[in-house]
């Protein structure tokens, strides 16, 4: 069954999460945010890890803003609109856990910018918005993929990989909505 044929986005997400096993990874991220021992384990890589997390947080905050632009554009029809809002909610969860983890490590989480400069003049249809979102999600997957090997703390790498998995699902579903092959290759770069 297509994810877009599911009765609600929540049901679609549940179906996808249930199949992928990413519920466990999500739980790992949640645990990470509450793990007081994490800061003590960060060790020498602490400053670098905080920078990696802050760069990721900056991108997540921008993604939240981008989905807001999409949601308010009046170009998205249900159920795509609902799905976009769901994906935005995921990014909010990512941003929240990243900010809390940065703070636990003694860093200062970056804040959302007062204004983001998106190519709104190029967004004239639902497909335009979906393509824009898909590019952001693809970039996010690559960004996390490029960040995972840099972490000094392996628990943080695992948490980043968990977020990567979620954003890869966003990308696949957005591609599917655009009529493109949802998973165009066996590997990501």
């Amino acid at each position: 069954m297509s994810f877009f044929a599911m009765p609600t986005p929540v049901a679609a997400r549940r179906l996808f999460l249930g199949r992928s096993g990413l519920v466990l990874s999500g739980a790992a991220v949640a645990l990470l945010a509450g793990n007081e021992a994490l800061a003590k384990k960060a060790g020498d890589g602490k400053a670098g890890d905080v920078q990696i997390l802050n760069t990721a947080l900056g991108a997540e905050l921008e993604a939240i803003a981008a989905y807001q632009v999409g949601a308010e554009s009046k170009l998205l029809q249900k159920p795509v609109l609902d799905l976009a809002v769901t994906f935005q909610g995921h990014h909010k969860e990512h941003a929240d856990v990243l900010a809390k983890t940065i703070a636990k490590l003694g860093g200062k989480p970056v804040s959302a910018k007062a204004k983001y400069d998106f190519p709104v003049d190029q967004l004239k249809s639902q497909n335009d918005v979906l393509k824009f979102a898909a590019k952001l999600e693809q970039g996010a997957v690559s960004a996390y993929l490029g960040a995972v090997p840099l972490f000094g703390n392996r628990d943080l790498a695992k948490a980043a990989a968990s977020i990567l998995g979620d954003e890869a699902m966003h990308w696949a579903i957005l591609r599917n909505a655009l009529g493109e092959a949802p998973v165009p290759s066996a590997f990501m770069a």
Partner: protein
């Protein structure tokens, strides 16, 4: 005119670089550029700075962009050579950069990516 020693080496190096640029696959470079899109755009500053105007630009010099101190102090100027080095291992070339990305390991991917950025810099999107 016959070239000898260092002059010949320079001529060969320039010829090699020109040949490499000529062989670059810009369309593939645009695909590789998709990896950058969570943080970068051609025309606008995002998590990372804009790429229009990148070629020949001093690193850390886009007005108003909040660079890391490491990037501001890097003394790099972006050209094919410095971009190739940086993109291979950003944190090795500029330790402390906010571009916390492990890099583009494949030399052909980097060559094509840089060719795409160069073409985009000369193209209509960056000239608007």
């Amino acid at each position: 005119m016959k070239l000898h020693g260092p002059l010949l080496a320079i001529a060969l190096a320039v010829g090699s670089a020109t040949a490499a640029a000529a062989n670059a696959d810009v369309a593939h470079g645009e695909e590789v550029y998709n990896r950058c899109l969570a943080c970068h755009a051609l025309k606008t500053d995002r998590v990372g700075p804009r790429h229009c105007g990148l070629i020949g630009r001093r690193a850390g010099s886009v007005p108003g962009f909040a660079y890391s101190e490491a990037m501001k102090k890097s003394k790099l100027t972006w050209d094919e050579k410095t971009l190739d080095r940086f993109l291979q291992k950003p944190l090795k070339v500029v330790p402390g950069t906010a571009m916390t990305y492990d890099g583009v390991p494949d030399a052909k991917d980097r060559r094509d990516l840089i060719a795409y950025i160069k073409q985009a810099n000369d193209g209509p999107e960056c000239r608007k």
